[in-house]
C-alpha cells in the first residue's frame, strides 16, 4: 500500500514540475513585446543587434516545444544561461548565494519545529491559564507579517540594544549565526505560531479520542497513555504541518533576505524580478517550485509511513 502511495505521489511530483516548467518558460512568450527584451533585463529597449544575438543564443525563433526542450535539458545539466544585467552566468549567481539561503532556512526550521511542537504540546497537556496565554500569543503571532517582524527585530534587538547586526550575511559559521539569527527569527515567528496551534489542537483531539478512553479504562499509566497513544497518534498531523511550514519558509525567505540585506537567492529573485532579468527569475522560480513540491511530497510520504491511515485514504 505504502509503495503504491509513494509511486503515485512521485508521479504527481513529476507532472507538477513539468507543467510548472512549461508555465515558467512560457512566461517569456505571453509577455507583451519581444521575449528577447525580457532576457536582457532592465526594461530598456536594447539595440536591434543585441536582440538578434539573443534570438540566436536562446533559439527564440525555433518552435516552442524545441526551444523549451533545449531550455529544460540545459537546466537539468546545470546550464541556466547568462544573466545580462548581472553579467554573470546564472548558475554562478545562484551557487554563490545558495549557502546563505540554505543556512537561513535550516536555522528557521529548527526555530520553528522544536519550540512550536513543545509549546503546543505543553499548552494542550497543561490547559488552564497557560493554554489561554499561549493561544493568545500564537493567534497574534500568526497575524504578524514576516516583514513587520523583521522591522521590529531590527528596531529592538539591533538598533536599540545592539545585540545583532541589522544587515548582511556574515562569513563562516559564527559570523552566519550572528548575522542570520534575526532573519531566522523573523522568518520563523508566524510559522512557529502555526505549528504550535496545530500541535495543540492535534494533541487535544487525541486526548479526547475514544482509543485514549480505552487505554485509560484499562488503567494504563498516564505517561504511557501520553507517549504511546496521544503523542504517537498526533505525530502524523504535527509532522505534516511542520513540513508544510518548512516548505513555506522557502517562499518566505526572499522577503526576509530583502529586509535584512542577506545575500541569498531569495533576494536575488526579487532583485532580478525588479530588473526584469527573466533568465535569473525563471531559474529561481523553477528551483523554488521543485524544492517546494519535493518537500511537500516527502512530507506526505513520511506522514503516510507514520500513520498508515493516510495512504489508505489516499488509495481509496
Amino acid at each position: 500500500m505504502i509503495w503504491r502511495f509513494i509511486a503515485r505521489r512521485t508521479a504527481m511530483l513529476v507532472v507538477t514540475v513539468l507543467v510548472a516548467s512549461i508555465v515558467i518558460y512560457g512566461a517569456l512568450f505571453i509577455a507583451p513585446g519581444d521575449p528577447a527584451t525580457l532576457l536582457v533585463g532592465g526594461g530598456k529597449p536594447p539595440s536591434p543587434r543585441v536582440i538578434e544575438e539573443i534570438h540566436r543564443q536562446y533559439h527564440l525563433d525555433d518552435p516552442f516545444v524545441q526551444s523549451y526542450w533545449r531550455w529544460l535539458t540545459g537546466m537539468l545539466h546545470g546550464d541556466a544561461g547568462q544573466s545580462l544585467s548581472y553579467r554573470d552566468s546564472v548558475t554562478h549567481l545562484i551557487t554563490d548565494r545558495m549557502g546563505n539561503t540554505l543556512f537561513l532556512v535550516a536555522y528557521a526550521a529548527l526555530l520553528i519545529i522544536l519550540p512550536g511542537v513543545a509549546l503546543g504540546t505543553l499548552a494542550a497537556l497543561r490547559g488552564g491559564l497557560g493554554e489561554n496565554l499561549i493561544t493568545v500569543v500564537t493567534t497574534t503571532l500568526m497575524a504578524v507579517p514576516t516583514f513587520v517582524i523583521s522591522v521590529l527585530l531590527i528596531w529592538w534587538l539591533s538598533v536599540r540594544w545592539g545585540w545583532f547586526p541589522a544587515y548582511g550575511s556574515g562569513v563562516g559559521f559564527a559570523g552566519r549565526i550572528e548575522h542570520l539569527t534575526l532573519p531566522a527569527l523573523a522568518l520563523a515567528a508566524s510559522w512557529l505560531a502555526y505549528v504550535a496551534q496545530v500541535t495543540q489542537a492535534a494533541v487535544r483531539a487525541e486526548l479526547a479520542s475514544e482509543h485514549v478512553e480505552t487505554a485509560r479504562s484499562r488503567g494504563i499509566p498516564e505517561r504511557f497513555v501520553l507517549r504511546k497513544h496521544v503523542l504517537r497518534n498526533a505525530a502524523g498531523p504535527i509532522f505534516s504541518v511542520s513540513g508544510v511550514a518548512v516548505a513555506g519558509l522557502i517562499a518566505g525567505a526572499s522577503i526576509v533576505e530583502q529586509a535584512f540585506g542577506v545575500n541569498g537567492i531569495g533576494a536575488l529573485l526579487i532583485q532580478s524580478a525588479a530588473k526584469q532579468d527573466l533568465a535569473v527569475v525563471q531559474t529561481l522560480a523553477l528551483i523554488t517550485v521543485v524544492v517546494f513540491v519535493a518537500v511537500n511530497t516527502l512530507v506526505d510520504v513520511v506522514t503516510a509511513a507514520l500513520d498508515h491511515r493516510v495512504s489508505l485514504e489516499a488509495g481509496a
Binding site: 478512553e213 479504562s217 484499562r218 488503567g219 504511546k228 504517537r232 497518534n233
Partner: protein
C-alpha cells in the same frame, strides 16, 4: 433484602454534565445491583443515560461531570476513590467493551500492541509472556490465525473480528466485572450471535459478572439474569430476565416490548407516540407520563419512586398487573405525531 453483598451496587446515582456553563442532568436516578458472577442488562433508547451509567462505574465521564449518589464496587465507593485505588480497580477488577471497536482501538498501532500493552505496563508481564497469553485468548474468542493478527493493524480487520479483539483485551485483565456497552450493535445479526456466545462462554468459564448495555430488550433478556429498563435518565423497572415478557409492570417496558414483537410470535406491532426524551427535557412528574396511555393527573406532578413488587422494582404510580391482559399504550395509532 437479605442477599449477600453484591459485587457492584449503584445507589441513587445522579450525573450532570456542563452545557453552556450550566449543569444539565443526564442521569436522574439509577439504582442497580450486579451480584458476583451474574449478568444484568441495562436497556434503554438513545439518550436514556445507559451508556453514561456504565462509564460512571469506571469514572470515565467527560470533563466537568458531577456525580451524586454512590457506586460501590466490592464495598468501595468509586465516586470518591483515590486515583491509585481507581487505577487498581481499572487494572484488576473491571474491564469495559465499547460499542465501536474501530474508534476505541488505537488505529496506528498493531493489534498485538493493543492486547499486550495493559499486561506489560500495568502488571509487569514480560512482552513475550504477554504475547503468549493474548495469543491463547485470541484463539479462545475464535480468531484462528492469532499470530498473524497480532502484527496487523485495526484497519485490516473486520468489525466482528475487532470486537473479538476488544473482548480478548477485556479478558486479558482477568476482571471480576465486565462492562459491555452495546458490544454488538454495529455488527450483523449472525456475527452478533457469535460474539454474544463468546462473551457468554468466557463468563461462564471465569465466573465473570457483567453489566450489559443495550437497546435490544430481547437480546438482553436472552443473555442476562436480570433486566433494568432505563428511560430519561432513570431506571424505571428492574426484574428477572425470564419474567420480562409476561411479568413486566411498567407501561414503558410493556410498550417497548410491543414495539418489537419477535419474528415468529405473531404479536402485532404497537407504537409508542412521541419520541424518547433525555433526562434534562423532563418535567417534575413521571418522565414517561407524556407518552403513557395510562397517565393520570398525578403522573404529571409527581415523580414516581421505585417500589418493589412481583420480584422486581417499578417506578410507576399505576404499575400494570401482568395477570390482567390489557391493551397497552397508544396502540398503532397513526395520528400519533412527534415521531
Amino acid at each position: 433484602m437479605n442477599r449477600p453483598q453484591p459485587l457492584l451496587a449503584i445507589d441513587e446515582l445522579h450525573v450532570t454534565l456542563p452545557f453552556k456553563g450550566q449543569p444539565r442532568t443526564v442521569i436522574q436516578r439509577v439504582d442497580l445491583t450486579v451480584p458476583a458472577g451474574s449478568a444484568v442488562g441495562l436497556v434503554g433508547e438513545s439518550g436514556s443515560g445507559k451508556s453514561m451509567t456504565a462509564r460512571a462505574v469506571l469514572r470515565l465521564l467527560p470533563g466537568g461531570a458531577r456525580t451524586g449518589g454512590k457506586i460501590l464496587f466490592d464495598g468501595a465507593d468509586v465516586t470518591t476513590m483515590s486515583p491509585a485505588a481507581l487505577r487498581k480497580l481499572r487494572i484488576h477488577d473491571v474491564a469495559m467493551i465499547f460499542q465501536d471497536p474501530r474508534a476505541h482501538i488505537n488505529p496506528v498501532r498493531t493489534i498485538g500492541d493493543f492486547l499486550t500493552e495493559a499486561l506489560v505496563t500495568t502488571r509487569g508481564v514480560r512482552p513475550r509472556a504477554a504475547e503468549a497469553t493474548v495469543t491463547a485468548l485470541l484463539r479462545e474468542v475464535g480468531i484462528a490465525d492469532a499470530a498473524r493478527r497480532l502484527r496487523q493493524r485495526p484497519s485490516e480487520l473486520s468489525g466482528g473480528l475487532l470486537q473479538r479483539v476488544m473482548i480478548a483485551a477485556a479478558l486479558a485483565a482477568e476482571p471480576r466485572l465486565l462492562l459491555a456497552d452495546e458490544p454488538t450493535t454495529a455488527l450483523d445479526v449472525t456475527t452478533q450471535a457469535e460474539v454474544m456466545a463468546i462473551i457468554d462462554e468466557a463468563r461462564a468459564e471465569r465466573g465473570l459478572a457483567m453489566l450489559f448495555i443495550t437497546h435490544d430488550l430481547a437480546l438482553a433478556a436472552a443473555v442476562c439474569d436480570r433486566i433494568a429498563v432505563m428511560y430519561a435518565g432513570s431506571v424505571v423497572e428492574e426484574l428477572p430476565a425470564d419474567r420480562l415478557h409476561d411479568g413486566a409492570r411498567h407501561p414503558y417496558t410493556r410498550a417497548l416490548l410491543a414495539s418489537r414483537p419477535a419474528p415468529g410470535s405473531g404479536g402485532s406491532l404497537r407504537a409508542i407516540p412521541g419520541r424518547p426524551l433525555p433526562a434534562y427535557e423532563t418535567g417534575p412528574g413521571c418522565a414517561f407520563g407524556t407518552r403513557c396511555s395510562q397517565a393520570q393527573e398525578v403522573c404529571g406532578a409527581e415523580r414516581p419512586l421505585p417500589r418493589s413488587g412481583g420480584g422486581g422494582t417499578t417506578a410507576c404510580h399505576f404499575p400494570v398487573d401482568p395477570l390482567v391482559p390489557q391493551a397497552t399504550t397508544g396502540a398503532g395509532d397513526r395520528s400519533t405525531t412527534h415521531g
